[in-house]
Symmetry: D2
Subunit: 302 residues, 4 copies
């Protein structure tokens, strides 16, 4: 299917064409594949210009217009681009993914069809300890022996539940019941269709270092496609959203004091004198630590 080409009167997207039906591997058995797309950077600008009417056409170049739109949260023109993906992922990843509601989904059904004997086995380098600071994250490495043990346990779990699944279906038990012993590491797949505005929202949350590693892998695969599909929009997304910093009212007030020389900061100073009342007496100071990172990015921590 990859090689077949047809003539179309629709807007074409060279950056998108190269990804059609191309398999991007994710984790051990998963993938992301572009099935279809609609639109491109030019079409985003064209839709935006409907708002401005005749007189304003071509006043701004497409790229400048796209940056203006994204910067000012005029998000509707980005909804004019749509992409359709075929994806395969562990069930626990699918469960995080599906929380993004403004998308269309057709998922493989364990009621209709036999689930495959494919389970996500983390590679040793991602087997890490529970983070103390970040209750929903991982942190330091496990020891070599601990990693071995984890892999041994999961291997025996996956093997047992799949053998049992097979026996249950052989007994004749309805598939919708036979599958209930399968683990959330079992792979599922779906067609997923979403517009670019909502995809940016997905990417912002799922490319974030706080997102679980396993879904980040998919977000990164998708971002590769989007970078080629809508390069100007993706660059604007990186500059104004992904790599931007948001400063709260309290942080603005503090930075004013730093700039005017009222306070002189260092890591220790910030931790001791945190501007966040509710963290003054705390051991783990998340908001304070985030502020230190921001101050560092802005060049204040030298």
């Amino acid at each position: 299917m990859e090689e077949e080409k047809n003539l179309t009167g629709r807007p074409i997207n060279p950056g998108g064409e190269q990804w059609i039906e191309k398999h991007i591997s994710c984790l051990d058995h998963g993938f992301v594949k572009l099935v279809d797309y609609m639109g491109n950077d030019t079409e985003i600008a064209r839709a935006a210009r409907v708002s401005y009417g005749r007189g304003t056409k071509k006043v701004q170049e497409d790229n400048a217009l796209i940056r203006y739109l994204l910067r000012n949260k005029h998000t509707s023109p980005f909804e004019m681009v749509e992409i359709k993906l075929h994806c395969k992922m562990p069930i626990f990843v699918a469960r995080q993914w599906i929380r993004h509601r403004t998308a269309n989904v057709n998922e493989y059904s364990g009621r209709f069809s036999i689930m495959s004997n494919e389970f996500y086995m983390p590679s040793p380098d991602v087997l890490k300890k529970q983070s103390e600071e970040n209750k929903q994250g991982r942190d330091e490495d496990l020891s070599h022996e601990q990693k071995q043990r984890v892999i041994e346990i999961l291997t025996s779990d996956f093997s047992k539940v799949y053998t049992d699944y097979q026996e249950l279906t052989e007994i004749g038990l309805a598939k919708e019941l036979a599958r209930i012993g399968l683990s959330v590491a079992n792979y599922t797949e779906w067609f997923w269709k979403i517009d670019l505005h909502n995809l940016f929202h997905f990417l912002r949350l799922r490319l974030d270092p706080h997102a679980q590693y396993e879904i980040r892998v998919y977000a990164e695969a998708i971002s590769q496609i989007v970078k080629d599909l809508c390069p100007a929009s993706y660059k604007a997304f990186e500059d104004y959203i992904l790599n931007s910093i948001s400063l709260s009212q309290q942080e603005i007030d503090w930075i004013r004091k730093i700039v005017s020389g009222i306070i002189h900061i260092s890591d220790d100073y910030v931790e001791e004198h945190t501007p966040f009342e509710h963290e003054k007496s705390k051991k783990i100071k998340k908001e304070t630590n985030d502020l230190i990172k921001k101050l560092d990015k802005l060049g204040f921590m030298l």
Copy 2:
């Protein structure tokens, strides 16, 4: 733009290609134009087959599968087709249209741009009296003189408010304020993007004889495109939704009595013995009249 063709690896839709950038006139100054599409009947079936997995592929032909899906309200595969339209319509039509929330919209902005001197003037044949029975509908014809008067009044309204709009903008008043005297018959335009499932919902409501005539014109224009874009899906939509009859519990019970010979019906009989308690004492019996139409369709009123 109409004649330019490019090679694409995406799924092609011959029925859709012929409509790209083709202008379908609606009312006096409006139009509907297909800007882009994604998918076709085959792609709907392909997405549905993700649910059934390997074993079941090609068990059913696409058409039979599509009919099965629509009949059983498995609507998600129809969300895999997307169309993008450029439309121009009076503001009062746009206000009904926008109530369909699951769509993407970029509208012309009266804050940015000058509104055009185009107002919807109904043609004489659609100038009708307020219906007594249907509080939101029209009914009998006005007299020739009445129609003349209506056109005269609206012409003078449109002319005055547009002349005044021009004076207000010449004074320098902000466009966002100058336009508030313009009437809801003034034309606006937008890009509108929607998936096929939600479009069917739009068409079911807006092709209905109870929809205001002016929006029905647009629904009919769009249905022409969809008929060519997804012929199997559109036929299923007609058979199972548009031309279907829904019988309530009360209607089922009554038909049982008719079939078993307990009651013998005629228009008079139904009106007198209506099965709907709350209409027994009413002059205008809407539900009863709807039942008479259904019985007629089913061949009972001979």
Copy 3:
């Protein structure tokens, strides 16, 4: 919390009040509990009357108005009622449930918190064979021995994966990874908030005999609450949607022939002369069998 009452100026719903914080058991460890509600039948009618303006108030009684709205698919007033539930269910049920996108959800997180040692074990009477006719359903009973074996297998699966989960967390593996061996029968819980229109949609699909038994149990629990919360609306939902029959164009044409005496039907006749072209040569005739059921309901199969 159950007994505490406070004064409020908001619209009250006596039928709803009795369900607040009341636990409805579902399956072996699950439940549904009403946390909060907004609105009632009267408020639906009040919202609808906004459309009709001053003059039309009280022209129709609330009940008649509600039936009119539902019958004519004026669904927006039903969106004016909202309910919030606390629910606990197996993950595979949660995965079907979450497909209803127009709702708000806060789910228990296996990244933050320890998953409980609760797994759904089907009771023997619901352990059935895969249906031949309905690829996604169950059918006849398994034998007593087969049921014993199924329970034995699932018990050992659940026991092993939970013991292993405990060891993995003791090793210190991040919770977000330790949980990937747990099965989809493991219980999760969430707060779920939805409006009445979208809840009716959920109930129509999930009360259907084709829905998986395990989610039907939850739909039935919720329908008990709704019956008391909005009795007039729920009755209209039953009459016009749940217990209604939809006849397709082809079915209408066939019934005309029956009524006019052109064809005389019986089960055999319908199976042989099915009006559905694509089922003529098939062994399993789903649409034909559905038609037989409809004809039976309408009193034709005597």
Copy 4:
């Protein structure tokens, strides 16, 4: 209705109770009125704690938890609060408002009911010139004479189109057609129901100085209610969103240079040496001007 109180087992919100059915005037004939609410700050925290499970309850105080959620864009708990408003506004305001799709609406219908003789007449102090810099905004005052002329023109427009509307309905023309000459300044009304997360999104966009003044008036009225309804959440919304500053990648890089002393800034310097390539040759430098404002807020422009 204002004074009647009933007992309820639902969560109560003292800050919300005081606003029930209280009329907040907006513009000349409009209003906003709280009809019903669901939830409060405590309920937001309760929903969030479902994610953390038993062990973590009360670990953080509600207020700190709410701030944490909003800061980290964990938005789903805010969807657990819902408010229902009765609002009356000019049609052109309703048209901007309805663009927020994740809400429930029941609007007054000009097809069913007579539109009232109420049109929005701007007060003289908001009659301003089209802004040169901001194509969608207003700017300097008009002269006294110009204001007089504007009011005269709009008064005559409103008067003529309403008189004509009355004549058209007296002729018997269907209401759905008679109303098409009415202006977009004519008042409409609706019931509007939305959750707090989506309401914050509405408020962020509509409280913004770039929003049209006439819709800002409504956003401000609603924000009064929300401030009392969910004080902790609203404060977090102000600190982390409304009064926050977002710095793009380019702006971060520039501020680093300022902090490290590489560049010394002033208004003139920034305008000349703007870091935004596409604005170097432009007369109106919007992004540059926005940067100047941010630098000023941060204390750099002294």
